[in-house]
Symmetry: C2
Subunit: 531 residues, 2 copies
């Protein structure tokens, strides 16, 4: 069963290994475990629903608890403390576009506020019930998760919007296809959520971001249904798909999604290379992505992340041997781990591998074959589980991300890391900070930073610390040519920073679109647009 107060399946536990705890303790001090509330304690706090009765709406208390929070660190602290603050007044699980339209009519008639819920994996506050006087209905798309059509000629698959990553892939793989969209939240996040928040998968280098995969579908709005027919490309005016991509539920409910799929590749290989230092690694990854070699994945950990990964990996003896070998080959302290993959036909993969190795050799890269690469691929969806292990050891972990053009990458990365590392200095607290570039482009790169800090004496302090760190990092992002999100969306947490990149007229334009689709502001008030 899915955890009601954290990430993933209850059956899956990722613990912090002993030497991992020692590693952190040495860097930021002993862990400070806090007490977890029980589900029974939380259920006792759920107030009566303010909703009138409707056959499609459940007001079951546990269902309301399970749809009250996403996966941001503030959500985590709310769930673990049991101090949820607000709960939706009810949850609807429609099974068809017609039922969605019926619910829209009902919430309009009854003056209800609507939250749209995909996989509940938002890390930016998208799905939390807003602080409004109206009752709040959460509309979950979980039951609309089927592959509805597969056009093998055009390689287009039509899904219900609530299909999770595994539901998408298992239904496609049975027919010999893949979507190839693997965000870290893949186990729980949904196709509709990916579209609404402009998601990016780990192999976007081959398959493209969700913007490139989303070929059409339907959006149910208070102003009617927006049908998006599929064309391979069109010059017939602005592309209305782009209004749905990134709309984060503010314009309507995605009721159907058509995506571009690909036959399963003949061959896929993941490789790891160590670069001797960050300066050379950064230049190498830029030249590699700009060389247009058809890789399917390319990422680079900075020195602290590389060190942290090796420390948390378990198997300290093997790691020691590996480090000795790497040092002998010229990648000692300060080394950076680069992972890449080739996916396709063997002849193309062989050429891509050869060209990649040759290029990286020029930067002192030490190629380690598929062992660590496969390890990465096997564990690619496990990182979110580690929050639980860290929490039990008395640490809070959070991540944040941005993207910018190449000339700003290093400075932005350093500014974000500095803002976090020094963010609690006046309390005498240290923060452990590390970063990787997870999506690279000819134009620039995403920057994905993780940080670990101690919660302090209680939940209030843990949240206050997070707020200070998040604000400092967000300011560093927008002050250094970064977008406030490369792959997680805006939600509520990033909304205050959006105007820096959209500008006054851009914000007015988004407001005018929200007004057009939802004149009564019933849809997720505060998400994307602060008001």
């Amino acid at each position: 069963m899915r955890r009601w107060n954290g990430w993933g399946e209850e059956a899956t536990e990722v613990e912090l290994p002993a030497h991992g705890a020692a590693f952190l303790s040495q860097r930021i001090g002993e862990g400070q475990p806090l007490h977890d509330a029980s589900l029974a304690e939380v259920l006792a706090k759920v107030p009566p629903s303010r909703l009138p009765a409707h056959p499609l709406v459940s007001t079951d208390a546990e269902l309301r608890v399970r749809h009250a929070r996403g996966q941001s660190l503030p959500d985590w602290l709310a769930m673990r403390s049991g101090e949820f603050g607000r709960f939706p007044d009810g949850v609807a699980l429609p099974q068809s576009a017609e039922q969605i339209r019926e619910l829209l009519r009902w919430v309009a008639a009854e003056d209800i506020c609507l939250v749209i819920y995909g996989g509940g994996t938002s890390v930016a506050g998208h799905i939390n019930p807003p602080a409004v006087e109206r009752p709040v209905l959460t509309l979950s798309l979980a039951r609309m998760n089927q592959l509805l059509a597969l056009d093998e000629q055009s390689r287009l698959a039509t899904f219900g919007p609530g299909a999770s990553g595994p539901q998408v892939e298992s239904q496609l793989r049975a027919r010999g296809y893949t979507l190839g969209h693997f965000p870290q939240s893949w186990e729980l996040s949904t196709l509709g959520g990916w579209v609404a928040s402009r998601s990016s998968g780990q192999q976007s280098l081959r398959y493209g971001r969700i913007e490139q995969l989303f070929a059409g579908g339907s959006l149910e709005t208070f102003a009617g249904t927006l049908e998006l027919p599929s064309f391979p490309a069109s010059a017939a005016g602005p592309d209305l798909r782009e209004l749905v991509l990134g709309s984060e539920g503010r314009f309507g409910v995605i009721s159907q999604v058509k995506v571009r799929v690909t036959p399963l590749a003949e061959q896929e290989r993941f490789y790891a290379v160590f670069l001797p230092d960050w300066t050379r690694a950064l230049q190498a990854i830029r030249e590699l992505v700009q060389a247009r070699i058809p890789l399917s994945m390319l990422r680079l950990s900075n020195a602290v992340e590389s060190e942290t990964q090796l420390a948390l990996a378990g198997h300290p003896r093997q790691i020691a041997w590996l480090e000795k070998y790497l040092a002998w080959r010229g990648a000692a302290a300060g080394k950076c781990l680069m992972t890449f993959a080739v996916t396709g036909n063997p002849a193309q993969n062989a050429l891509s591998l050869r060209q990649t190795r040759r290029l990286l050799k020029g930067f002192g890269g030490v190629f380690t074959g598929t062992l660590l690469g496969n390890k990465w691929a096997q564990n690619r969806f496990r990182f979110p589980y580690l929050r639980h292990g860290l929490w039990q050891a008395g640490y809070c972990v959070d991540t944040l991300e941005t993207a910018c053009d190449w000339p700003h990458v290093d400075q932005l990365l350093q500014a974000v890391e500095h803002s976090l590392r020094e963010g609690l200095a006046d309390e005498g607290e240290r923060v452990h900070v590390f970063t990787h570039l997870s999506h690279v482009y000819a134009q620039g790169s995403s920057i994905y930073t993780s940080y670990v800090y101690r919660p302090g004496g209680d939940y209030a302090q843990a949240l206050a610390r997070w707020q200070r760190l998040k604000h400092a990092a967000s300011q560093a992002i927008v002050a250094n040519h970064g977008t406030i999100s490369h792959q997680h969306g805006v939600g509520r947490d990033h909304a205050p920073y959006l105007a820096v990149e959209k500008g006054a007229l851009g914000m007015a334009t988004l407001h005018s679109l929200a007004q057009h689709f939802d004149p009564q502001q019933r849809l997720l008030p505060g998400v994307l647009l602060e008001s």
Copy 2:
């Protein structure tokens, strides 16, 4: 000097060869040349300007004539007959964004209607003065044509919006880069025009459509300036670049364009292959594009276009030899010409060529090497000049285009060709129709159809015939899952058909955006949106 009444430079003439005229005469009858008006005749018809004086605005009659029409066939007939109908009341050639803003303030204060003019190559009526009571100012961006910045790390080039294809490429090539955007109108069309109309270049398979190349810039509107900063990718809400792409001047004036550029490739090769028949050719090209082989160009002429091209190519003796050879290899009557290119490093190009040849061999493809491929590349921008040669021989030629998903390609192509071929049957007139697929995608293909007909006794009849043909073909497009434009935009000629694909809510959304940016409807009324 540029022609005032047709395509391109006066110095360039492409005549219809004698056996080409015989070929057409045999198919649709003897040509019917019409009398061309002189520039002096037209200048005599230009009425006094209704504009108040402004230092940035010229009311010179010839300038007004030269900015009155684009390159659609109705524009051609208007220019050749001298019956322009309307002229702009003046032409402004601003040199900076500040001058554009000044002009916007002025037209707002003086209640003037504005036409935005890039290269004047629209084939859909974008730049014709609208039928309104207000005076009309045409704002040409021709003087804003400079490369303003080149960021070699991020491979981003910033241009004035009025840079034409040759101006873009010459400034980039001097620095070792290319934009790689080569629409057939490349000699005259402009970067800002490409963005505004969602253009596609012949090598979009490698470089992407203008949507993929456009990284940011500025749009000057009546509601202020929309600044679009560049990010490699972003999940921060809807992408506002997409409101500029395809806006066709309805929302504002593009004053700066930032584009993604690529270092000049080490090697580029164009090849030609003949496929024995259309059925096999269509399947081959679909499988080829879906195989993800990194080709830079891929196009396929149907049997009539292949035959027409060989007939109009000149050199009948060589062509006869070629046809004998092809027939001996299995590509006789009904054969279809496929052209493709590889661009990049030699090792990758060699592998791509090998994989392409192997795949095409399975469909009976006869590979002819680089001779015909290079011929195509050399002549890629000459086709528009042929309109003049055909006109002098007494024929009208026009083209139209669409795109759809693969399951509809053949049916849509046949329906469009049929609508044209039979479009004048009740007058006893035949129409010569041929088609190629010029941009192919894993999902589907563009369809580019050319048609040649006789103008009849006078200009009125020539235009009436065009209107019947255009309407019939446009109806065939929207009735068969096609977009009303893959690469030319909507303009005025396609606006009546737009609602079929955008839907009622989509149209209302575009209207609400136009209202947001231009509440007084001063910008190109009738373009993109009929009202």
